[in-house]
Amino acid sequence: MDEGLKNELQKQGIFTTSFEELYNWGRKNSIWPLGFGLACCAIEMIAASMSRWDLARFGAEVFRPSPRQADLMIVAGTVTKKMAPQVVRLYNQMPEPKYVIAMGACAISGGPFKQGYNVLKGIDRFIPVDVHIPGCPPRPEALLHAFMTLQQKIAEQELTGKNRPRHLVADAPSEFPIPQFGEHDLVPANNPSVWKPPATSRAA
């Protein structure tokens, strides 16, 4: 529908919408996060949900204790290699549509533990991440910004056509392989279908 005509009608007291808009509006204002934290970033996430920053303004105050009721996974903190299979398993147990926010330096890249042998260098090696937040830890405002970014992303999703989101594509995967504990590292060390090593050409 033409944007100008829509505004004109609205001035006359007639509200028009499309199914797509209504559907996305409903979804983006009730993103229920999974209530779990891995390290100090979780404290900031908890702060963001409390009265001072009040995540409830975005319809996301209901932290669900079960992945089966959650829409959003906030990976808040260091993902150790020992914890990574459980994080992927939790993600697999969430129903579609589902989203992931990687919160903080550790969750996006390994952070200060990047040189360590026991920390996963970013959860995006195993599951698709929608929003990355840098910071150590990020302020609650940064989490709110990530939330609003995610809401915008949901609002802009087309429900038909080839750009439609993953949960409307019948043969798109909704579960991702869980890494196994190997003798020296996780096996596999990353999931090549969601993550490729960055092509760094700084020297050239």
């Binding site: 020992k82 990047k114 260098k121 190997g182 003798e183 050409s201 700084r202």
Partner: protein, 209 residues
Amino acid sequence: MLNVEQVKSIITHALPGARVEIITNESPSAQHSILVDDDHAVAVAKLLRDHPELRLDYCSNATGVDWPEATIKTKVKKRLVVDGADKEVEETIETLRSGYLEAVYHLYSMEKKHGPVILRLRTENRTDKNHLPSLTPVWRGCEFQEREIYDLFGIVFDGHPDLRRILMWDEFKDHPMRRDYVEPDDYEYEPTPHDDVLEKATRRQKGAG
């Protein structure tokens, strides 16, 4: 507080068979430690805990140390007669030290309010003879710390009630705190790489194109 020599004499008096050695610490802290042989370690630990003058009832920390094989250079001054004149000549002696693993216990007394007394146990080598007696039956607080030593250094504690890996997963085969541990090559770049990491990062960058 008794000094290490006094603690040593208490041990040698009570347990004549025990081989006890004082390892001196040359640094300003001068925290000298006591090396005990494997066979008498538990008896020595019990003695330190129960002796009326020591009463070391609290093991605050147990940790591991990896000593890989190394050549040790020591400088010795010698007086020589060169061309009829007395001269002082410095000579370097190289000795080969075989590798071993160490478990170090820091003991305090809650009752007497003194400490630490530092106790060391040594394995014969780093590969197959890596067993030590567990001191968990003496100080229960050592349980998790000995598990951590087992996990990260690979010392097997005989007599430990529940010797499993504590930080890494059970399927893991390496001991990451050993000097010769090779970490998995699983990161591509570093914001400010240097030394080994720079070398590794450059190698990865060339590989990734």
